[in-house]
Amino acid sequence: MAIDYPKALSDRIQQIPRHFIYLLLFGVVVWQLLAPIRMPIVPSHPSQGVYDAIAAVPDDKIIIITTDWDASTQAETGPQTQAMIHACFQNHKKFAIMNLQPPMGVKLANDLAQEAAEEYGAVYGEDWCNWGYKYGYENVLMSMAKNIPNAIGKDFYGTPVEQLPMMEGVESVKEVGLVCIVTGLSAMTEMWIGLIQGPYNIPVASAYTAVMAPIYYPYLDSGQLQGMLVGAKGAAELESVVARPGKAVAIMNVQSWAHVLIILLIILGNVGFIFARRARQP
């Protein structure tokens, strides 16, 4: 069947075949991955807030990094977690990884922490640990508020957490200096704020996929969140703050060029629309 292509240029601009747009986007992404033209990355106030919150944790307290993400959002949440781990190691802060959902996140975060720990010479159990996946959502948090070793039980490798040297003296959330939430799921922040940050005044910083970030700006404005990483952009900003340009900086550079393409296509579509409307007017 013959396709009826529009003849006027303004109509053709508005009806660029989607396959052509996909190919253009693919071309820009591959081009920028293989031969990048770097764009500057300036840390935003919310991203700087995450770093400042980590740096401000007293030495006798631990940081909890809750990694509620999986492979589906790894491109954004993976670099966010990695940048937070680097910020902890650089500031000599002890941290524990855990997650409430989905179970895969804790394994993926463990790989990132191990890689970074080798670089900084950090020791498992002394400088960092992995509490593993804990099922029970609110119940886990309410239990942790009173007694962390009881609520957590065994770590990722099956060792009772009270046997880990860094857990000495850690009884309840009062010994937690900061909770870093890295998540691709909504409701996790509400749980931590409602059950831990609000009642026990424990600072919380967070990292979200770009899709879900806009709804958490009010939490930032009210001071419930000390800082926030927004998607790959936030991860890239924290990477630049810790002077460790990595995956997020590379992704963000490509992303900026992809955005340029999308903006150009939007402008082109609107120009076509305006000219087509003018052409139809008597």
Binding site: Y22, L34, P103, E138, G194, G198, P214, I251
Partner: protein, 226 residues
Amino acid sequence: MNPDLFILWAAAIATLGVYTILYRENPISRLFEHIFVGLSAGYLLATTWTLNLEGKWWNPMIQDKKWYWIFAPIVGLLFYFIYSRRLGWLARLVMGLFFGAAAGTFFRQFFPIFSPQIYACFKPLGPQPGMSVEGFVFEVILHHWIFVVILLTVLSYFFFSVSHEGRFGRGLGRSALLGRWFLMIAFGAMFGNTVMARISLFIGRIRFLLFDWLGSLIPWFAQRGL
């Protein structure tokens, strides 16, 4: 075959297979879609046992001889009485229990979540003692005033109790219209973020295909990814 290499090739073939949907609906993308759904269901089933039930229910009951855990699945199975007209009340009993627990937990969380955000809406609109002119312009006028104007106009958009007629009604209508514009701008920003997130995921997959998969065949690609 090296298991890592197998995983690499399987991931690459699955990624390419799923992306064939970009051309058009086809059996290859459908095949990988079904494989993904099956894997997810299997993974969920396996992790439900290994990470939840085995440690929290089976082992305490069998190894630690805590026999009373036998009642947990019995209570859980009461949910299935929903299909019985005569014994449906048993299902409602456990549902009521769960609803009550969930409502109680949410009620406990409600005030710590929302109270600080309500307090944060009350921003000073005049110059503060010791504030510089620069601070007044950037903080009070550019931040607080814009915030309060947007807050009030958006709230007025959701105020449906007064018709937009008469002097007050027309004023409310204009405010609601402005509020609608602000909402549209906010939705535009949210949609922009959604585009950004989707492109991030796409870049993540292309990085994998170029640097990990192609890089395992042609070292030049792997070097570019370092």
